[in-house]
């Protein structure tokens, strides 16, 4: 039996780094992880784990040698006129870096989960900037937390206990008792039920609510129609704003309720503007609640390597960025790519039907650890290595703090040490084919 401490969980953006595991044979015992985390740790001993490369030829799927799968993947990429490389978020920055380099080499489009997750939030930052802090600031100082369009009890179960609501920080020694919680959500989610104030706005009216709060902050009365539009009374807005202005340190955690609803990046922009303005009154910060473990990582490394956070196009030999034009959903919907390499992401499940349909028509290779709709439509399936369990690397946490993770066991495959390794092998083969 082997016991390890301080293991990093590779599931959500919280990047909890206090996981303890005991691995013995085909059993793994996990401490400190949440339900989702525990489920992922069980993958290491699961029976459905993809254990060998698979190849689809004329509708028939067969296991194949590692080399052949790498070769076939490289051929798919090299033969295409415009490949899409999709670096999912449940893998390391090191793997993503290879994906970006590969895309640059091929003149391909490269995207990541951010595109359908907090991509619009990043776009909001591009319009407004973002006033934030690392998670420990809220832990030690925060006396007000606002969950706006987010539901951490379902999507990031330990967010409240580790960072935002329950932890006893330096000036918050009484934990939950030192804090007020507001939830803004059209649905009475379980998080809303556990909050001190639930602002139940109508769907697709976040922008109007945020805008009205800003108007109130600037000493004006919002246009009266806002009550009907948002379903929230101006007096309720005033109550909420009063709580925000009178706290010592407030934090807003925005979720996909902001990024995925009508208004998109403009919702995020308005939220960032509100927080910017609040800092003239009291301390306020804002950050995104990121559902996937390294979704922030792609934003960070794509930005420092090439200048743009997601949805990059390399067709002209330099990076270009324009969501709606070079982003994965749009490229697939418009049939503007002709093959795809999908790493650690299940696009067939999570993209709209028009995109999934097109993916099923073009050559697709994927790297994954378990069968899923995307592996079902792929021409090549390469077995994935589980980051933070079987190899080391870097994740960026929800607050953009980089976390170095070390494995407690090694890759079960003799041909690869990590997804970064697999990606490098594909890249080498592509280079050989293009030479």
């Amino acid at each position: 039996m082997m016991a390890s401490k301080n293991i990093v969980c590779p599931v959500c953006g919280a990047s909890c780094d206090d996981i303890q595991v005991e691995l013995s044979g085909d059993k793994i015992n996990v401490k400190n992880a949440c339900k989702m985390g525990n489920a992922k740790f069980q993958e290491i001993v699961s029976s459905h784990r993809i254990s060998q490369p698979l190849l689809r030829e004329k509708g028939i799927v067969r296991p194949c040698p590692w080399e052949e799968a790498i070769e076939r993947t490289a051929e798919i990429l090299a033969d295409a006129s415009r490949p899409l490389i999709f670096m999912g978020s449940e893998t390391s920055c090191e793997a993503m870096e290879v994906g970006l380099h590969l895309a640059e080499f091929l003149g391909a489009a490269v995207d990541s989960n951010s595109t359908v997750c907090h991509g619009p939030t990043a776009m909001g930052i591009q319009e407004a900037g973002r006033v934030g802090a690392t998670a420990g600031q809220s832990k030690s100082r925060g006396d007000l937390a606002v969950y706006w369009g987010s539901n951490p009890l379902e999507s990031m179960p330990r967010h409240m206990s580790r960072y935002a609501v329950y932890p006893r920080g330096y000036w918050t020694q009484r934990g939950r008792f030192d804090r007020t919680i507001i939830t803004v959500d059209p649905r009475k989610s379980i998080t809303a039920e556990n909050s001190d104030l639930h602002i139940q706005l109508r769907p697709n009216t976040d922008y109007e609510l945020l805008s009205a709060l800003l108007v109130l902050l600037h000493g004006k009365r919002p246009h009266p129609s806002v009550e009907k539009v948002t379903g929230v009374s101006i007096s309720q807005m005033e109550e909420m704003l009063e709580l925000m202005k009178s706290c010592n340190f407030g934090s807003i955690y925005v979720g996909l309720g902001i990024a995925s609803s009508y208004g998109k990046h403009r919702n995020a922009e308005a939220a960032f503007n509100l927080v910017k303005e609040l800092n003239a009154r009291t301390k306020f910060v804002i950050g995104a609640l990121r559902g996937h473990c390294n979704v922030a990582g792609f934003n960070q490394i794509a930005s420092y390597l090439y200048g743009f956070p997601f949805g990059l196009d390399f067709s002209r030999g330099y990076p270009r960025y324009n969501p709606g034009e070079y982003t994965a959903v749009d490229l697939l919907r418009e049939r503007d790519v002709d093959c795809a390499l999908i790493v650690s992401a299940d696009l067939v499940s999570h993209f709209p039907a028009a995109c999934a349909e097109y993916l099923a028509e073009i050559p697709v290779a994927c790297i994954d650890i378990a069968p899923c709709p995307t592996t079902m439509i792929s021409d090549v399936v390469l077995p994935g290595v589980i980051d933070a369990m079987e190899c080391d690397g870097t994740f960026y946490r929800l607050d953009d703090v980089p976390i170095y993770f070390q494995p407690f066991t090694k890759s079960p495959f003799s041909n690869t040490k990590s997804n970064a390794d697999t990606m490098k092998q594909i890249f080498e083969k592509v280079k050989a084919l293009k030479r």
């Binding site: 930052i125 900037g129 006033v131 998670a135 009154r281 330099y318 960025y321």
Partner: protein
């Protein structure tokens, strides 16, 4: 083995007292040597530098090029990037970004301009992995990063308790843990207050809760610096940065370290120099331009540079870098969170901020400096004043505090202003009249020589940060980093300022470790640079005691103690500089 000869150039190597003499430079295996054998000469790469200016490779001792806040700037500004792109070549990556270039573009742009060494001015400990990741990906350049300490909980606590030894032990441990090169102190005591949306205004104003003053932090950290014997002195970003009338607090801050004796205890082999290559200063003031403001508000704003320079001219223990403002788009970024908030309130621009738990803060803002703006025009003048009014060039370093005052690719323009009064007058005519009315620049006749330029862009930045043991000069044993400009010193025409700027911007050759990396602005080789950091030590017992405090307070972090350090793999070609070696450190015990 490889050899390079740079023949017949007019060499400017101030640390060796060489002022335009026509000399050959010999490089073997990346190091400057006195001569090469006949066989070596036959196989050597030969650069004909006849009638050209030869200088050591440029050294930037204060630039924001790697890490979380730089990347916040990149992420925030697609409009800055989309027309400023670099296309990949067979050996180079593509990139984008004007004021905040992506790392590849940044490395190539610096190298193409003749710079080979660039130090990142502010690394937050918790995000040090990020800084190192970016440096790891930066091509060609040799790099290092200064770590921010001026608002660190442990430092504040120890200094409040008067426990300077533990403070030193903590700093030493942090520098080893996060692979930092020097100590940076940003708005001491003020950034912690920014955790509550407040700031401090005076050197003797204690901050909230920790009740420690800027003065105590500056003095304490400067002492720690010399107790440990770090290669560079304390690097100070003064309080009240960017505020009218702040020259006084800047001067008073510089007085605090007076009397502290500089002590470099690093264990290194020093390349040969005629002048002393060891630093003399006990404090190195960052971006003096932003701390040399007169007046009491933006209405009566004026230069405070003459007053600040007046003090610096009297003392020998201060070096400044200028933080010049060459006009045009910029992205301000600093560990001084509250200063950026003030700038946001003033300008309403895009503003990002990240406070880092228990450690520090940062802010980023997009800004364009306009010649038509009265305030910006004065800022332009002040940046040049601090360079020109401080008489001894060994007290000044030329920077733009990239990308705060401007972009590093504007250095050639900056040099032209420093070398040519005509260039300054030409620009002043295009500026708001405040430029000359509210500063003394119009009355300054000084024109820096090529020799002085070599001091403020090579020799002095290297000496100030303790890198002159191998950088900033061409003495025997120095790194073979050389810039060859197509400038004939004998025919230098200071009236043709456009040509001068263009030649400075595109050197004929940039040589790194004896290898040609850039030729007339084009990158021709992409070697990997080195990463420098210090490994200071204190006695075991002291360290143990300190660590028990650290572990006790670690519960306030959101990262576990075991996952806090920067692992070696984040550094490419690391060069660890041992400081205060373990044995010697044993002598350092509690009083």
């Amino acid at each position: 083995m490889s050899a390079t000869i740079i023949r017949n150039g007019c060499v400017f190597d101030p640390l060796n007292g060489i002022n335009g003499d026509v000399l050959d430079i010999f490089i073997r295996d990346g190091k400057v040597v006195s001569s090469l054998t006949g066989a070596e000469q036959r196989d050597a790469t030969i650069i004909d530098a006849g009638g050209k200016t030869v200088m050591p490779g440029g050294v930037d001792s204060h630039s924001h090029v790697a890490g979380a806040k730089v990347n916040a700037g990149r992420l925030m500004r697609p409009e800055d990037h989309y027309k400023s792109v670099r296309t990949k070549t067979g050996i180079t990556h593509g990139g984008s970004g004007y004021t905040v270039p992506s790392v590849y573009k940044q490395g190539y742009d610096y190298a193409a301009m003749g710079y080979t060494t660039v130090f990142e001015a502010a690394m937050p400990p918790l995000e040090a992995r990020h800084t190192h990741e970016e440096m790891r990906s930066t091509p060609i350049l040799d790099m290092g990063a200064y770590m921010v300490f001026g608002n660190n909980w442990f430092v504040m606590r120890y200094l409040k308790e008067g426990d300077i030894e533990k403070a030193a032990a903590y700093v030493a441990w942090m520098m080893r843990t996060h692979k930092a090169y020097g100590i940076k102190c940003v708005n001491p005591a003020g950034v912690e207050n920014w955790g509550w949306a407040k700031n401090v205004r005076g050197l003797d104003e204690p901050n909230i809760h920790f009740e420690v003053t800027p003065r105590e932090l500056i003095r304490g950290l400067a002492k720690v610096n010399e107790m440990l014997g770090l290669p560079m002195s304390l690097h100070l970003h003064a309080n009240n940065l960017g505020h009218p009338g702040n020259w006084e607090i800047a001067r008073d801050s510089l007085m605090i370290t007076s009397g502290i004796v500089p002590k470099n205890k690093s264990e290194l082999e020093w390349a040969e120099t005629k002048e002393s290559a060891r630093r003399r200063q006990s404090v190195y003031l960052a971006h003096a331009q932003f701390s040399a403001y007169g007046g009491t508000s933006w209405r009566d704003f004026c230069s405070g540079a003459p007053e600040l320079a007046g003090y610096i001219n009297q003392v020998d223990d201060v070096v400044i870098d200028s933080g010049c403002v060459p006009f045009g788009p910029a992205t301000t970024m600093t560990g001084d969170g509250p200063a950026q908030h003030d700038l946001y309130m003033l300008t309403g621009q895009k503003w990002s901020n990240t406070d880092v738990e228990l450690e520090c803060g940062s802010g980023v803002l997009s800004l364009t400096y306009l010649k038509s703006s009265p305030v910006h025009s004065v800022q332009w003048a002040i940046g040049l004043e601090v360079m020109l009014l401080i008489d001894d060039p060994w007290k000044t370093i030329m920077t733009t505090d990239h990308p705060n005052g401007g972009i590093f690719t504007q250095y050639p323009q900056l040099i032209t202003w420093l070398m040519s009064k005509k260039a300054r007058d030409d620009t002043a005519r295009e500026c708001h009249k405040w430029a000359y009315d509210k500063s003394s620049l119009g009355g300054v006749d000084r024109e820096m020589s090529l020799y002085e330029m070599a001091i403020v862009t090579r020799a002095n930045p290297a000496r100030t940060i303790g890198m002159a043991y191998r950088k900033g000069h061409l003495g025997i044993g120095a790194d073979g980093d050389v810039t060859v400009y197509d400038i004939d010193p004998g025919k230098l025409n200071l009236n043709d300022t456009t040509a001068l700027t263009a030649r400075l911007a595109r050197p004929d050759y940039t040589v790194k470790d004896g290898r040609i990396v850039a030729r007339q602005g084009e990158i021709v080789a992409v070697p990997e640079g080195r990463r420098y950091y210090c490994r200071p030590y204190v006695g075991d017992a002291l360290e143990k005691e300190m660590l028990s405090d650290v572990k006790d307070w670690f519960k306030y972090y959101t990262v576990g103690f075991a996952n806090y350090p920067v692992p070696d793999k984040y550094l490419k070609n690391p060069v660890a500089i041992p400081v205060n070696k373990p044995l010697e450190a044993e002598a350092m015990v509690r009083r």
